[in-house]
């Protein structure tokens, strides 16, 4: 697939071309303009999920180009980059949410605990139960708060009795630090909560099926600073149990919540590294430009 591709990003030619032997990845088929490898440390030892040479196409347009990245167990990895750089598209390919979009095609491999989720025998139902998702805009169902959280356990048959289901709902709401605010109004519609509460409800709904990985697609972009701070605290607590990949527009947020940061630019994964290192000593000029606010 790499033979005839055209990259419309002259910047990449200017700085790209990092020697790739350190990475140990098969890239022999790259053509000259795309002969570019991610800077930094895309791979870790305790990988929960590993993406290898992931390409995403919207019709003819190639939105993601040969992205390879590991997501370590119980870490929070932040994906940053200017609008349209493909970070959300990449995130959505991790639980095959891109399958919903008819013109979207994914090429490459994504492994969850060593198993390829794009292999023919894989089932998106089970995959998405293990890799949950929280979206940009809070999207609770127009059902009661209780029913919102109980939705996942019900469809996956996780509770065998009403008491068990009650317990799951309470536990999930507690973990999403929403329980104290809603415990008396569980039968009220979830759409009646405030924006920040709705987003925590969506997080509770996602963790109610005990996923292993939670993907968050700009979860705070529709929230005010106080609600954002609560979600960030929550992410900090959740990483004890879950592996979290978060896409964000806010560099401060990435710096606050994540251990590793990945910088995307025009569909390419430019640089990955420990958050502290990426923000203090970015190795790549594009990363540095973005972080210092020269574009983006």
């Amino acid at each position: 697939m790499q033979g005839s591709e055209k990259i419309n990003a002259p910047q990449l030619m200017a700085h790209g071309a990092v020697p790739n032997e350190a990475v140990g990845l098969d890239i022999h088929a790259h053509s000259d303009v795309s002969d570019y490898e991610t800077t930094g440390k895309p791979f870790v030892d305790n990988a929960k999920m590993s993406a290898r040479n992931v390409n995403v196409f919207y019709g003819e347009k190639r939105a993601i180009m040969d992205v390879s990245l590991d997501i370590g167990e119980n870490e929070v990895i932040a994906m940053i980059g200017p609008s349209g750089c493909g970070k959300s598209t990449f995130l959505r390919s991790l639980n095959r949410m891109n399958d919903i979009i008819p013109i979207c095609k994914v090429k490459g491999d994504v492994f969850l605990d060593g198993e390829n989720i794009y292999a023919g025998n894989q089932d998106t139902v089970l995959l998405r139960a293990r890799v949950g998702m929280v979206f940009q805009k809070p999207n609770p169902f127009p059902k009661s708060i209780y029913e919102n959280v109980a939705y996942g356990p019900r469809i996956h048959g996780l509770a065998h009795s009403k008491a068990e289901l009650d317990e799951i709902v309470e536990k999930s709401l507690r973990r999403a630090s929403l329980w104290d605010e809603v415990k008396d109004v569980l039968d009220q519609p979830g759409t009646g909560l405030s924006g920040g509460q709705q987003q925590r409800l969506c997080i509770a709904r996602a963790i109610a099926v005990s996923p292993e990985v939670i993907l968050m697609d700009e979860p705070c972009s529709a929230l005010d600073p106080i609600a954002t701070a609560r979600i960030e605290e929550l992410i900090d607590e959740l990483k004890e149990r879950f592996t979290i990949a978060i896409v964000t527009h806010s560099m401060q947020q990435a710096a606050r919540v994540s251990q590793r940061t990945a910088y995307f630019h025009l569909g390419k994964l430019i640089e990955v590294g420990d958050t502290k290192q990426v923000f203090t000593m970015p190795a790549h000029e594009l990363t540095e430009n973005y972080i210092t606010g020269r574009f983006g």
Binding site: V125, L127, P142, Y151, V209
Partner: protein, 433 residues
């Protein structure tokens, strides 16, 4: 224009032009309309006023006939031999009046147009807010158009209402609404045999509801399921082809459905029933309802499709992202969210089924039997209205007036269904906006 050029004008040059044109055109146009409306009456009263006294002493109907004859002669469609001297004199008078009126009409309308145009032109100045003026005039033109629509509706309702009141002076409302027998043949002569009309409306209502029920039984599941398929599963190409095709189905004239029902479906159902040992009337409620259902499918489908598609994608993503299947997402998220809207759409479809005429005229029977067996022939409100008004009728007999009473009831039934449907649909809309 003191020094400012075009920029010193309050409005664009064209607005001044529009204003002058509207001032010239509109008053003259209204004068013309008023003239047309009043001219006939005026000339008639002038001509009749000049007739001899003994003729003026006749009844209004006779004067009308007399006058129509001389007008006919004046216009050349009635032969001279049918008229007397007085009439011929009056006819000449009439011709003169018409010619004078014609001349005056053009003179007045023309001068009003010129006057209006001049007035507007004189008023033109840089300060004149011609743009706002023109906007205002257009607003009033649009308003009066919508007002005409409202007035017409009101007029129809009132005329039906008054005729229905005349009917209820002969037949009591309780006899009509609660009576179990419908046979509207009334004796025209006192000695006529076997014709004591009875106007019990219940069998018609039951027949109408029975056929509508059969229709909805067909249309709702098929329409709803195909809407779900189209909005959630179908590829863009399939959708692009299927939707217009189904909308063509909605464009087939109902009379075509009618003879399809009468000539194809009804005999088929009768033969099928007979082969199963059932007695099926050749004009069964089942056949009419079945075809009516087919007619309504595109209606239900199109409405439901719009409503299901209106459920935000974020709901689908939320559910699919939890690992729900498409089926679970549809049943547990999309349907509950879309249900009020779908119910509203179905109610609209029911009111269409109840008001549908051509199919039932051709495929349902005429005998007003009180039954809920879809294999028997029943009749509907609309069929009875048609049969009551077709042919030579006296317009003051209860038999004919009954049609207006039926029309009134039908109007109220469909109106209330529409009101409920609109209420439900609006309530649904509030959820996501």
């Amino acid at each position: 224009m003191a020094g400012g050029g075009l920029g010193s004008l309050n409005s664009l040059p064209k607005h001044y032009g529009y204003m002058a044109a509207l001032w010239a055109g509109l008053p003259a146009f209204f004068l013309f309309l008023a003239w047309l409306a009043l001219e006939g009456h005026y000339i008639q009263s002038m001509v009749v006023g000049s007739l001899p006294a003994e003729i003026q002493a006749m009844s209004d109907d006779e004067i009308g006939l007399y006058y129509n004859q001389l007008v006919g002669y004046a216009q050349g469609s009635v032969d001279r031999s049918m008229l007397n001297e007085d009439q011929i004199a009056a006819a000449n008078n009439y011709q003169q009046l018409v010619a004078k009126g014609q001349a005056m009409k053009f003179l007045l309308v023309g001068s009003l147009a010129v006057l209006g145009g001049m007035l507007a032109t004189i008023r033109v100045s840089p300060e004149l807010r011609a743009r706002n003026h023109v906007e205002n005039i257009f607003k009033w033109i649009l308003f009066s158009c919508s007002f005409i629509a409202v007035l017409t509706t009101l007029g129809i309702v009132l005329s039906v209402l008054f005729e229905a009141i005349r009917f209820f002076q002969v037949i009591t409302i309780s006899d009509f609404l609660l009576g179990l027998q419908w046979s509207p043949q009334m004796a025209i002569r006192a000695d006529q045999v076997g014709a004591s009309g009875s106007f019990g409306f219940v069998p018609l209502l039951v027949g109408t509801l029975l056929i509508s029920f059969v229709a909805m039984f067909i249309a709702v599941p098929i329409g709803l399921m195909s809407a779900i398929y189209l909005s959630e599963y179908a590829s863009r190409r399939f959708r692009a082809i299927t939707k217009p095709v189904l909308e063509i189905l909605a464009g087939v004239p109902t009379v075509v459905y009618g003879f399809f029902a009468a000539l194809t479906v009804a005999p088929f159902i009768r033969d099928l029933g007979e082969s199963l040992g059932l007695t099926v009337a050749s004009e069964s409620a089942l056949a009419a309802g079945l075809v009516m259902g087919i007619m309504i499918i595109p209606f239900v489908m199109s409405l439901s499709d719009d409503i299901i598609s209106a459920v935000p994608d974020s709901m689908r993503e939320a559910s699919l992202g939890m690992g729900a299947t498409m089926n679970e997402t549809i049943r547990k998220v999309l349907m509950p969210a879309a249900l009020p809207g779908i119910v509203g759409g179905i109610l609209l479809a029911v009111s269409r089924a109840i008001g549908e005429t051509m199919i039932v005229v051709m495929a349902a029977g005429l005998s007003a039997k009180l039954t809920v067996n879809p294999l028997e022939a029943v009749t509907t409100i609309t069929v009875q209205i048609v049969t009551l008004l077709v042919g030579d009728q006296e317009f003051d007999s209860p038999k004919t007036l009954a049609a207006f009473a039926l029309g009134l009831v039908l109007f109220f039934v469909t109106l209330s269904l529409n009101v409920i449907a609109l209420y439900v649909v609006r309530k649904y809309r509030e959820q996501y906006d």
